[in-house]
């Protein structure tokens, strides 16, 4: 199950709602919602497919199980050479962020989020829960949403990382960003970039998402101000075709 999850997506999870809330409960106690079942639920959006493993759990597993580490090595080409130890001091890490190649010196323990925010001054994505529960740090890696707070920067070498900063073309907002403004899908705005990234990833996969697909895709994001209703309107409205401009 874990290896399937990894080979799909690297690291990521977008479960949510009641399903998210009681996921561990049910899976631990043999109930109807095991992680595995979700992975193969045909009714779920592809954004969700195969990536239903908590990032923390995944990171922990990478550390302790050879199986998972081997899978990761095969996935992450730049250091497929083997388990050569790096760190704990700063090491060079090359990232491709919004199409631009950046080389930094960071410790291997530094997350993508912290590398983006503290080293590259990409502060659009936010650190909120810092453990893969709220989606405020959502980035898109190779077309799939990930929680950048629970993904190590060093693991993403050779991958195509996209952040909220890359979504706007100059001063022209992405259609879904325009829809967020139009529908007031933002209040304090702290969760908004993460929601926008989740929405953008959804729309790239499903240009005209159904309500269910949209809810599911956004279920990995938490908003404290309660913008959900208008966020959903914004995403569905974009699906109806608002042009950039």
């Amino acid at each position: 199950m874990l290896s399937a999850a990894v080979s799909h997506s690297g690291i990521g999870v977008r479960p949510g709602g009641v399903r998210r809330r009681y996921r561990f409960f049910f899976s631990r106690f043999g109930g109807p919602m095991s992680l595995h079942d979700d992975d193969h639920d045909a009714g779920r959006s592809a954004v969700d497919e195969g990536i239903n493993v908590s990032r923390r759990m995944f990171l922990k597993s990478v550390g302790v199980t050879g199986v998972a580490a081997g899978v990761l090595g095969a996935e992450a080409e730049p250091h497929a050479a083997g388990p050569a130890a790096v760190g704990p001091g700063p090491v060079p890490v090359t990232l491709r962020v919004n199409g631009k190649t950046e080389t930094l010196q960071v410790e291997p323990r530094v997350t993508l989020l912290d590398a983006l925010r503290d080293r590259l001054n990409h502060t659009g994505l936010k650190r909120v829960c810092d453990r893969g529960s709220c989606g405020a740090c959502t980035a898109i890696v190779d077309g799939r949403t990930i929680y950048s707070c629970s993904t190590l920067a060093i693991e993403l070498q050779g991958k195509d990382v996209r952040t909220i900063e890359g979504l706007t073309e100059g001063t022209v907002l992405h259609p879904v960003q325009q829809a967020f403004v139009k529908h007031d899908g933002t209040m304090c705005g702290f969760c908004t970039p993460g929601f926008v990234m989740s929405a953008a990833a959804l729309l790239e996969r499903y240009p005209k998402p159904t309500v269910e697909q949209a809810r599911e895709a956004l279920d990995g994001n938490i908003c404290r101000c309660g913008t959900y209703t208008k966020v959903l309107q914004a995403v569905l409205d974009t699906g109806k075709g608002v042009s950039r401009g």
Binding site: Y22, V128, R131, C134, E165, M187, G189, T192, R215, R224
Partner: protein, 729 residues
């Protein structure tokens, strides 16, 4: 926070400013139109800069070491090893050795280092010797005889009993009585942007970028704590990621940040992490009650006798209004604050009201059941007389109609299958109102308009309504106005709490912009050869009142100013705002009686807030308040381990907050009261949601769960208890 702000306008008095009254809704060109927020594009593109995002050259990262014990005397703190750790530029002891740490998370010491990782490593090197003391984390433990004392003088502080009327006579007149106990949980604010700031010194002058609801209050807090003049402190808060009542000053971490920055002679960023945020940055206190209440055979309330208590943690009270709204002619209430070794409470969106509303509205449904009356009819019978700030008699029927209340079944969904549906309702009231704001308006020769005000936009849309009010006043569109807020160097405005910001700020903008226009007219009128009083500003023009062709486009008019702009400083005046709001909410729920999982499917809300400035952002406030109420009803709970006093869910994985799939269909009806002026809306909509949901759950499953949140275990336990008793409600 309503308690901090006296009611400044009598609720019933129509707002009527002599010189700059609000335009009648029909005449308004900007106000009352649903307009998108002016800072929307910055927020959706990640370009809005929050305190958390501020970068400065040579910025260090601060980190606080906190007590792992809920109660312990700190014998010694040794920061020597931390000071020598890689990257560390400053370290200090926060707590005085010999003093007790009062709760898990109390501050002990702090460091600042070049990277966050280094700061984290360094705090681990701090050696603290604790003398662990007995603790009490929960109120039931704290109230026991012989419980360890949180403070000298015991854990219970009893308030004076409040008594009105003749209680014995009231119960004598009752045909039925209900005796019940209700309780609500501790809820933490979970601001998505955690508390914290960036501090930077230039000599003896401090600049602090703070995530705050009060730039001026925070300036005062820094000056006081650091013993420096307020003139040497500047607090900036351009954007902030949620406060909900918990962000009114620099707090301990802000002062620590400033001291670390001073010691390191470099800027320091110190933001709490999620666990710290849960532990130390405030919460809504718990509440509990034992109530006996009486009702006459005709459904008239006769008597109410309540003992209540709750904990605000280490040293903060936990009072709440009770009974809420409804008229119990004879009543008594005795409240006790219980101290525990837990993070102290702070104001939380409508402090006290969701608790008081829950206890009272649950009781109301139980009483209505006794006299076999419809809950809405029963409520209307026992409401206070109608007034502009007490409109429930009108709103209940409107909302019931929209909601389809007539479809409500009596207690207990009779349909087969595990999913039971139910309906409930509840009312809310709030103060709002505000005053004491100053503003600065400049009309520049190039036609630009700058509005400065030392308020802050905490996500409610303050920037937007400031722009709208200035635009309305000057006859411009709202995107022609440059609004600057969130800086203590701007004219004074109070903290954004108690739903007071709109009523405190917009009158000041109306008056200041009005005076600026007057000054502009003075300087334009001679060129047109008419008295200034004959000029009006409308449709982007300054023109003669009954001779529209005679005048100038706004820009051309401003060009006539030459090099000297119009600059006006003025302040809030009476006659544009009021206080007192009312609203009602209806909830429909689905409860799975096999799993105990409750889901809110629909909320209908009717709410007023005086003059509605921007229906779009106003509606968002209501949606948000309701979502927070759903969270309070079903999900959120700070869980402390009763033996160790540790919080077991200090994260966002086990401290549950609704996600997209948990949010019900929400239908909002805003009642405009233009004649009352601006009042405020942030808090009222969150008050009555949980009570309406809890009543709906009881209506669905036929058994009353009297304790929030309505988690599956509580619902299943209630159903099991009912089954054991072999009875119904």
């Amino acid at each position: 926070m309503a308690e901090q702000v006296p009611e400044v306008n009598t609720p019933a008095r129509p707002a009527q400013h002599e010189k700059y009254p609000w335009p009648a809704p029909a005449d308004a060109t900007v106000l009352g139109k649903p307009l998108t927020r002016v800072d929307g594009p910055l927020k959706v593109s990640g370009r809005a800069i929050y305190a958390y995002d501020v970068q400065r050259p040579g910025l260090l990262h601060g980190r606080i070491l906190r007590s792992p014990h809920p109660h312990a005397r700190v014998v010694s703190v040794d920061i020597a090893a931390a000071q020598k750790a890689p990257g560390v530029k400053a370290a200090l002891v926060v707590i005085q050795p010999g003093k007790p740490a009062m709760y898990q998370g109390d501050e002990i010491a702090a460091v600042a280092a070049e990277t966050e990782e280094q700061a984290e490593d360094a705090v681990r090197l701090i050696k603290v010797e604790y003398e662990v003391l007995p603790h009490v984390a929960l109120e039931d433990l704290a109230m026991r005889d012989g419980a360890p004392s949180v403070f000298e003088g015991g854990n219970i502080k009893s308030g004076e009993a409040q008594e009105t009327g003749d209680l014995a006579a009231g119960f004598k007149a009752a045909a039925h009585t209900v005796e019940a106990s209700y309780s609500t949980q501790v809820q933490t604010h979970v601001c998505l942007e955690t508390h914290g700031c960036v501090c930077e010194w230039d000599g003896d002058k401090l600049t602090a970028w703070v995530s705050t609801q009060a730039v001026h209050g925070t300036r005062e807090g820094f000056a006081e704590a650091l013993q420096i003049p307020q003139t040497n402190v500047r607090v900036i808060c351009e954007y902030m990621g949620g406060g909900f009542g918990s962000k009114f000053g620099p707090d301990s971490q802000g002062v620590v940040c400033a001291r670390l920055s001073k010691q390191a002679a470099a800027p320091v960023k110190l933001m709490l992490d999620r666990k710290e945020e849960h532990l130390v940055s405030g919460n809504r206190p718990s509440s509990a009650s034992k109530i006996k209440a009486g009702v006459a055979a005709d459904g008239t309330l006769t008597a109410f006798d309540a003992e209540t208590w709750g904990t605000g943690g280490a040293g903060v009270g936990a009072s709440f209004p009770l009974p809420y709204i409804y008229v119990f002619p004879n009543r008594r209430r005795q409240h006790r604050d219980v101290y525990t070794n837990a993070g102290p409470a702070r104001a939380f969106r409508a402090p006290g009201h969701p608790q008081g509303c829950f206890h009272t509205e649950m009781l109301m449904d139980e009483l209505a059941d006794r006299v076999r009356m419809d809950p809405v009819e029963f409520r209307i019978k026992n409401l206070p007389d109608e007034a502009p700030n007490r409109m429930w008699r009108k709103y209940f029927p409107i909302a019931a109609e929209k909601f389809g209340w007539s479809r409500r079944h009596p207690t207990g969904d009779p349909s087969s299958g595990p999913i039971k549906r139910g309906m409930g309702c509840a009312a809310n009231q709030w103060g709002g109102g505000g005053r004491g704001t100053k503003a600065h308006v400049e009309v520049l020769p190039d036609g630009g308009v700058l509005v400065r005000c030392g308020t802050q936009d905490i996500g409610t849309g303050t920037r937007t309504i400031v722009a709208m009010v200035a635009a309305e006043t000057l006859g411009l569109s709202y995107d022609a106005i440059k609004v600057e807020v969130g800086d203590s160097q701007f004219p004074f405005s109070g903290g954004s709490g108690g739903s007071t910001t709109a009523a405190a700020v917009t009158p000041a903008i109306r008056v200041t912009a009005g005076k600026a226009l007057d000054a502009l007219k003075e300087r334009i009128a001679p060129k047109l050869g008419v008295p200034p009083a004959q000029l009006v500003a409308r449709n982007g023009r300054i023109e003669v009142k009954d001779q529209a062709s005679k005048g100038y486009a706004w820009k051309d008019a401003c060009r006539l100013l030459g090099t000297e702009p119009v600059t006006v400083d003025a302040e809030w005046e009476n006659g544009l705002s009021a206080s007192g709001t009312s609203g009602v909410q209806f909830a429909e729920v689905e409860v799975d009686v096999e799993t105990g999982v409750a889901k809110v499917s629909r909320i209908v809300c009717v709410q007023d807030c005086g003059l509605i400035l921007d229906p779009m952002t106003a509606e968002s406030q209501v949606y948000g308040g309701i979502v927070m109420g759903v969270n309070y009803a079903l999900y959120e709970e700070r869980i402390l381990d009763r033996n160790t006093g540790q919080m077991v869910n200090p994260n966002m994985e086990w401290y549950h907050i609704a996600g997209m799939s948990d949010v019900p269909k929400i239908e909002v009806t805003l009642m405009n009261q233009p004649e009352r002026g601006v009042i405020g809306l942030g808090e009222p909509p969150t008050i009555s949601t949980a009570a309406a949901v809890a009543n709906a759950v009881a209506n669905a499953i036929g058994v009353r769960v009297r304790h929030l949140p309505l988690t599956p275990d509580r619902i299943l336990n209630a159903l099991a208890a009912q089954e054991r008793a072999g009875g119904t409600l």
